[in-house]
């Protein structure tokens, strides 16, 4: 069985190669903090996506599941997930079925909430979502960060601000692991300028790649959602 005729790249962390490279099979290593482990920045670095080129990505656990299916003829319905949270003393790894009920997997304490996914991109749902391999426990809605400076606490007393305009801050470039200009892109997304966004490289991104920028921008807009909306417009345009 062959899934693709194109090159296949195995992304791993730096160290001894997981398998031998030959012909179509290549190995790419990644290192760095935070989002550097995501598929988006790695595809951007190795083989950028465009209208002419499509890249598929698959997680290692899905590869294991496919292998299991081919070897044994049985579908593997469990995944290894991590259970952690900002207030968890001991994060742990466990095996859970696909779409497991969060409250059954993680013993929720009084007044705590469970997220499917990470702290930054997780969603408050009852069940583990399709691609999530992590459950985050929260104590209430607030995240108990260790001692914040007084001005941070002072700012938290301000009322909630309405959705505003994109503010082009210098910090975006540092938090964005793509060779794509973040401030012009966010502006194009905010005004739904499809042509400019495509020119700036929005086809290389997914919702998860914009999560950190959405958190940083004072406008309060969810740029991931705006990006998805733009993709829908683009596909409609293509069909028409």
């Amino acid at each position: 069985m062959q899934l693709t005729r194109g090159p296949v790249v195995v992304c791993q962390r730096q160290g001894a190669p997981l398998l031998a490279q030959d012909g179509r099979l290549k190995i790419a290593t990644f290192a760095g903090p935070y989002t550097s482990g995501d598929a988006g920045p790695q595809i951007h670095r190795i083989m950028p996506v465009s209208r002419q080129r499509v890249v598929w990505e698959i997680g290692y656990q899905e590869v294991l599941a496919i292998g299991h299916l081919l070897a044994s003829g049985r579908v593997m319905t469990t995944r290894t997930i991590t259970l952690c949270g900002p207030n968890d003393a001991a994060p742990l790894m466990m095996t859970a079925p696909l779409g497991a009920k969060l409250s059954e997997v993680a013993q929720a304490t009084e007044g705590s909430a469970l997220l499917s996914g990470s702290l930054l991109r997780g969603h408050k749902t009852a069940y583990l979502r399709r691609r999530d391999l992590q459950i985050t426990t929260l104590n209430g809605d607030a995240i108990a960060l260790p001692a914040r400076p007084f001005w941070r606490r002072l700012m938290e007393t301000l009322p909630t601000a309405p959705i505003g305009a994109t503010l082009p801050l210098e910090a975006y470039e540092r938090a964005f692991p793509f060779d794509i200009l973040p401030a012009p892109l966010l502006r194009a997304l905010a005004v739904c300028d499809v042509d400019t966004a495509e020119r700036l490289g929005c086809l290389e991104l997914l919702e998860e790649d914009l999560a950190l920028l959405s958190r940083m921008c004072p406008s309060g807009q969810d740029y991931g959602q705006l990006l998805r909306h733009m993709f829908q417009l683009m596909s409609k345009e293509r069909i028409a």
């Binding site: 090159p7 790249v9 290549k26 790419a28 903090p33 935070y34 190795i46 083989m47 950028p48 465009s50 002419q52 080129r53 960060l145 941070r152 700012m155 301000l158 009322p159 909630t160 601000a161 309405p162 505003g164 305009a165 994109t166 503010l167 082009p168 801050l169 210098e170 910090a171 470039e173 540092r174 938090a175 060779d179 794509i180 200009l181 401030a183 012009p184 502006r187 020119r199 700036l200 490289g201 950190l212 958190r215 940083m216 921008c217 004072p218 406008s219 309060g220």
Partner: protein
Amino acid sequence: MISAPPPQWNAHRVTAVTCAALLPPLITGLVMGGLAEIGTFGLALLLGVLWPLLFSVLRRSAFNWHGPITAMVFALLLPASTPLWQAALALSFGLVFGNLIFGGNGRSFLNGATVGLAFLLFSFPAAPSNGAMPQVALAAAFSGAILMAAGLLSWRIVAGFGLCLAALLQVVPASPDEHDLQNASLILGLVFLIGDPVAGASTHLGRWLYGALAAALVVVLGQASDGFGALPAVVFGALLASIFAPLLDQIAIHANQRRRARRQSLEP
């Protein structure tokens, strides 16, 4: 490198931090100017609330607290002996045509205070200039440090401005007056007019070019008036640089696009 969770900004928090940064020069200016200044600041504050309020009522949109900040920056840079009606007219023009008709802060490409001051200097050219006021300049430099630490003032713009200014002062024929560097207009203008993230460029390359362009304009315009620290040089330098900022961004975007197009042929 991201180690700590990034600050969760929103429009109110940006306004609050800018307001806190504005306090040192504001207090210094009021102490030095005396009671005579209170009227100007009060009027500016009133207009800075009224115009955004009018727009938010007419457009049924949320009230933006950035208006009072624009008004305070305007009042700080205003020449001391400007008649109140002239100040009111210029500030109203700046707030409405520099900011509000575009949809408020963040949607305009100009700074309201810059537009207002440019209007004042065009319409009433006899307005005499402020003195150097090194104390206010020092307080403004402190504001700049606060804003830079908070990430609301780009160090690239300031560095581009400083480097270009230093380079140009080497080649300018007339020896520069040292007092120009301590001029409150120059430092206030750099921090609050030129350094306004909305009025400036929004890419790294664009920010360097924008800072350098602003410095070049300030020096050139300063040659024509009384030194590069003079208010007209700073205001018109900031205005022209803001107008060119989108073009500078386009240069950066074009360079980025070409680089990415080359990477399209990349094979693993």
